[in-house]
Amino acid sequence: MTQATTRTRTFVQALNEALDIAMARDPNVYMLGEDIGEMGGDFGVTRGLWAKYGDARVRDTPLSEAAIIGTSVGSAMLGMRPVAEIMFADFIGECYDQLVNNAAKMHYMFDGQFKAPIVVRTACGGGFGGGPHHSQSVEGWFLNVPGIVLVAPSTPADAKGLLLASIENDNPIIFLEHKALYRIKGEVPEGYYTTPLRKAAVARAGSDVTVVATMKLVHEALAAAAELEKEGVSVEVIDLRTIRPYDAETVLESVRKTGRAVVANEAPKIGGLAAELSATISEECFHDLKAPVARVAGLDTPIPFSLVLEKYILPGKEQVIAGIRSVMK
């Protein structure tokens, strides 16, 4: 990222810029999904692009998630670069077979003869009363799937750079957009740039404890770090950015330095990203650890509708602080 000029942009605007730039740069890039055309998508991410690029490259589809991803994969087999929108990540089960058995395995099972360079943008995460079918964090559903890439930005600048990098990448990518981040603002470089995949960012440097987080929880972790700083605790926050395959090197280097690790992920604790990170850190850094790794994650429930119920089961700043305190004891 070398661009000098930056502007303040929302996460949605940053994504929109990335799509616009990618469409302009490469005629093979096209988009498809429900209501992404004239309407600009449920969250406005594709706004204005239909008017600019037309029906053929900004394709409204029927409510057919398997066909959306199947179309993406088939066209990618011939070198197109589709960017599909699955309106809510919760609906990704409708196209799970296409992603898991087709996109993720195509390059492998056909011995490298095909590639499936698709990007599937999807809105995930809770905290707004969306209820059980509009709030889930789905990264765990794909963690055990070799061949899939999971990208999860937390800032507008990364949203743009990572989306451009994802569209250029030759692997099938699920691009997670946490709904709570859509309206946040940040400095975003002008024009074209990419942010490297599989490279975590040190969102805040510290020396006493490492918090590894993704998406919304990066912000919760930064807020926790600011609060604990007043107590003299120095917190390093790692923003994973790519969840699969993830940048273990940066994570482990940080934990070796601080000797303490908290992993924070919004999905249920069992079998998820927090479990994976915790296992790898324990395996690799056992002798450097001054305390067991703490997992901060959602409770083992579906996501309830009423905001007080939802708040009870989803992790936030308070849970991150509690996690940090538990490893500082």
């Binding site: 991803i69 199947g70 179309t71 993406s72 011939l78 011995d111 095909f114 890439v149």
Partner: protein, 327 residues
């Protein structure tokens, strides 16, 4: 319609190649030389030969689990090395996917083979994208998916036909209705035993074809492909046929039915009668062709058996494009 003798004999040879391939493979499978599962296309040779005859290397087809034959024909016709399909089924390094795919995942885009997906019919969705790429690039190619009658039970069937219709995509649906999905009779598993009844609502041409009559099948595929290449959108062909292979556990279909299809409706026997009726070739001529084809298949089997196994280290290659996976 009556085909000229050259075309008919070529198709007869192709059909024999499929049958010899499958019988040879089955023999080796029973001896334990072929790993995994085996589904054969014996009885459905006319349908497969008709499709292979009209699809070009620049088109795309998605074969199903009974399509070793069409895979081998495409490989042989466009690249002259059908033995690499056999080698793939034996899990050898010389196979079209270097042994990574096997019977259920053989592919070679250079001959138009876009690969089987053993989650039956997943490519009913994938075929849309191949067709869309052709359409967006203005290429007059056809994307064909071969689906069994049972496979039609998936929801993707309807997503696919609908999207192909609204976008007028160049898709050929080749539905091989052999009467059963494993043990489930077609009329019991679907609201209609004629799959075209489920397809017609999408508004593009749908035809029932005698899938055991090579002339009828050849003619129908030609007609469908001409329609698609001319930019008229999708076409649906339902081939009525019957597979000789029963269940893994044995034959479950009524003896009269088995007898009818194997004796009265054998596509090779029917083709043979058509050829002899034209009076230009003798029974001996056809036997010579059969012997030649059988010898070729035995050579393919020998090639497969003599081929090296893949290097085990290749098991971690190509998980990601450009990124290594730890061994």
């Amino acid at each position: 319609m009556t085909l000229d003798i050259e075309t008919l004999v070529d198709l007869y040879r192709d059909m024999w190649l499929i049958r010899a391939f499958e019988f040879g493979l089955e023999r080796e499978f029973k001896k334990g030389n072929v790993p995994g599962m085996l589904h054969t296309g014996v009885g459905q040779e006319a349908t497969q030969a008709a499709l292979a005859a009209h699809l070009q290397a620049s088109d795309a087809f998605f074969p199903d689990h009974r399509c070793h034959g069409i895979n081998a024909l495409a490989q042989e016709k466009h690249q002259g090395d059908g033995e690499r399909i056999m080698a793939e089924l034996f899990g050898r390094a010389t196979g079209v996917c270097s042994g990574k795919g096997g019977s259920l995942h053989s592919a070679n885009p250079k001959v138009g083979n876009f690969g089987d997906n053993a989650v039956e019919g997943s490519y009913m969705a994938t075929v849309l994208g191949v067709a869309l790429a052709y359409q967006m690039r203005g290429q007059p190619n056809v994307a064909c998916c071969i689906i069994g009658d049972g496979t039609v039970g998936r929801g993707e069937f309807h997503e696919s036909l609908n999207m192909a219709a609204i976008w007028k995509l160049p898709v050929l649906y080749a539905c091989v209705n052999n009467g059963y999905a494993i043990s489930m009779p077609v009329g019991k598993g679907h609201a209609s035993a004629d799959i075209v009844d489920l397809a017609r609502g999408y508004g593009f041409p749908c035809e029932i074809v005698d899938g055991n009559d090579i002339e009828a099948a050849y003619d129908a595929v030609q007609r469908a492909i001409a329609h698609i290449r001319a930019g008229n959108g999708p076409y649906f062909l339902e081939f009525k046929t019957w597979r000789w292979q029963g269940l893994f556990s044995g034959e479950f279909r009524p003896p009269e039915e088995v007898k009818y299809w194997k004796e009265d409706r054998d596509p090779l026997k029917l083709a043979r009668e058509k050829i002899l009726a034209q009076g230009k070739l003798t029974a001996e001529d056809l036997e010579r062709i059969e012997a030649e084809v059988k010898a070729e298949i035995e050579a393919w089997i020998d090639f497969a058996k003599a081929s090296p196994m893949p290097d085990p280290a290749k098991a971690t290659a190509d998980v990601y494009v450009g990124w290594e996976v730890a061994a």
